[in-house]
Symmetry: C2
Subunit: 413 residues, 2 copies
């Protein structure tokens, strides 16, 4: 059989599991009777356009440790881009270039690992491909810490971020419980439109820790008066109140809860503050209690040393599944996870048509949010729990995690 090659690229924001999917694709190609070599395009589809292409099959044969190391390296080994293709009816020039490159590299299948915007690219490339009668199969592999893609039970990258958030909340709880004076801690978590990541804070609760004591999601209208009453009530019962809040909460008028006016710092610049700082100042002013805010920063998406084993394994399995499906002739699709049982946790891998996924978003269903809108319900906890199970087999050298060399992403002349 005349074997074709594959091309793979990564796009969107970083996760701790996106390279595990890349490993899955490399493994899938190595095991496939349909495909020979897998090429990686640097910085998403722009690498195809600029001909910045790595031979991944060759690279991975250089060192037997590379596959393992790659799977646990955070962010994109191939780099990313924030590139939205134009409608090909308006401007087909990038499409012409991409498919010319596919021909040049004798590509039979293209895999794009990414989130919502990347699935839009998968949709557009597959539509254009169909129009020109290209035999190249185009398949999306989901990846987003936000867990907001449709047609899949959850998305790779989410479980690791959820694990990091839950562990951080638990450690912040230990940090907070030490003082015998009233205090409020506001923890700001990513997720502009969907509250999945903020909800994961609930996993920090155990037999001795009831924090976070309040959870505010973007799915619920945020009322500052209700919030202050919630905090005040809890301060009667306990010294330390810990609040998990999504960066994306909004008031009844749809405005984000954040600093809306301008200030001037040392150098005379205007500044804006996020929701954590804003609620910190609200509590300080209205309740007069010791308060601090903590922003769980970019580490929630790149702290690969605390990745979820379940997440890494599923991400890799989806990469392999995408290659297998392409070999069977599937195109214009995204690979998906279907949960077949919660206890014991089991999943199967499948695929869905990309046109049902691109440009859609999945929020937390109302029944998984407490009636008061300040917590999550047990079914949501049951949904989340399996996703953070197991640990990454991190190797440490000289005191730090060992990741893949990414110097190929450095500025090129």
């Amino acid at each position: 059989m005349n074997q074709k090659n594959c091309m793979v690229a990564q796009s969107g924001g970083p996760t701790a599991a996106i390279n595990a999917s890349l490993c899955g694709v490399i493994e899938g190609v190595a095991a496939s009777e349909h495909y020979d070599t897998v090429y990686g395009s640097l910085n998403g589809i722009t690498g195809i356009l600029n001909d910045r292409i790595l031979d991944l099959t060759e690279l991975m044969s250089e060192n037997p440790d590379y596959m393992d190391r790659l799977a646990r390296t955070p962010a994109m080994f191939l780099g990313s881009c924030r590139c939205r293709l134009p409608d090909y009816l308006d401007d087909d020039s990038p499409y012409v270039s991409v498919f010319r490159q596919f021909e040049r590299y004798d590509i039979g299948a293209f895999f794009y690992i990414g989130g919502n915007d990347s699935m839009d690219t998968v949709l557009k490339l597959s539509e254009y491909g169909r129009k020109i009668g290209s035999p190249v199969r185009v398949i999306g592999i989901p990846k987003t810490i936000d867990n907001d893609l449709c047609e899949t039970d959850h998305t790779p990258g989410f479980g690791s971020a959820a694990k990091y958030i839950a562990a951080s909340l638990l450690e912040i709880a230990h940090d907070t419980f030490i003082y015998a004076v009233n205090s409020v801690t506001i923890v700001e978590i990513m997720g502009r439109d969907a509250g999945w990541l903020t909800a994961a804070a609930a996993l920090a609760r155990n037999e001795y820790n009831t924090a976070p004591h309040l959870i505010y999601l973007p799915e619920v209208i945020f009322d500052p008066e209700d919030f202050l009453l919630d905090v005040k009530r809890l301060l009667y019962e306990r010294n330390n109140v810990i609040v998990a809040v999504s960066e994306g909460i909004r008031d009844a008028d749809g405005n984000y809860i954040s600093a809306s006016e301008q200030t001037h710092d040392t150098f005379g610049h205007s500044q804006l503050s996020g929701v954590g700082k804003t609620l910190e100042f609200l509590v300080k002013e209205k309740l007069g209690v010791k308060v601090r805010s903590v922003e769980i920063n970019v580490l929630q998406r790149c702290a690969a040393h605390l990745a979820s084993r379940t997440d890494l394994d599923e991400a890799a399995a989806l990469g392999r599944k995408a290659v297998a499906l392409a070999g069977e002739g599937v195109t214009a699709s995204m690979v998906t996870i279907r949960r077949t049982s919660n206890a014991p946790y089991t999943v199967t891998y499948g695929h869905a048509e990309i046109r049902h996924i691109a440009n859609e978003a999945k929020s937390i269903p109302p029944e998984w949010i407490s009636p008061a809108g300040n917590d999550v319900t047990q079914p949501l906890v049951d949904y989340l729990t399996p996703l953070i199970q197991g640990e990454s087999n991190v190797t440490y050298e000289n005191g730090l995690p060992v990741y893949m060399d990414v110097s190929h992403l450095a500025k090129h002349p």
Copy 2:
């Protein structure tokens, strides 16, 4: 021999290693021929005053796993306080109460695990004890992520915080390198007066990662013009510039680099911003480049899942050493670490008089800072490297690290 008992308490800010020192004290007492039971005072010395005392010898005998679990639990198992004793010449009432409790519990030695303020308490208690002719030995056990205590090569808690900071910087570098457009990332690190923690960011550098590309310490006057020139120069060479900056940097007039004027948020409150946000806005305005700031938050002092083995081992050794010294009659002292060799790294444990330590602080020596004041030198890297070696043997259950139950710190009726 008539065995006396011991009392131990913890004070100041959290670290990942402070409970390892507590374990060392418990082990030391168990192995001692001088001492019988070790009592833990809750919330620093205030627990002695309020009679909130745990029998640690009994508690640890309940479960064979407790010692291991305690050693890797972050923050204070016994809780903390921010309590500065008055001069006993002005008001001796707390002193009278404390030494009355020592008699009641038949205490022969008191150990206080903490930082600068706690060593002030050790000094005052030992001076008062000497005045009244008390036989109770009073010994401080150092603990601070700031590494700013004198008379000891370094302080327990620092190595774990340094490891967390270096690992975070490396992961942020991976997160940053993925985009092929110019960007600046400002990473704000704790340390108001000494730059040891910020300097630890340099440990993230390896064969492929040169970040952080600039390091600004509180030991050096910060000049915004020089900073902008530094960043601009680096942006010619590379796409992504990562800057590590101490929260405590100041300008030539001694003013902290932070928002100095007031703003109004959604709810009409005034807000202040830290150095990270301030430099972010400076870069955005003056260089017009994509820029973000990341605050390495309280997790740098409580992320016990990434503690340094070296740090935990030394913290425990100092706890045991303190008990041994008390048995030999030493008092009014703090246990210390002396580095006897850098490669291989070896240390010995000793003690120093508390009057040389309390209320003093140790900064980074000028020769360990680059002449341009925007980086550290190799000898500082060599000093730091051994302190982050080795990992904590974290146990995970249900996806999260297993720590000691701290519900005894909850509000009491």
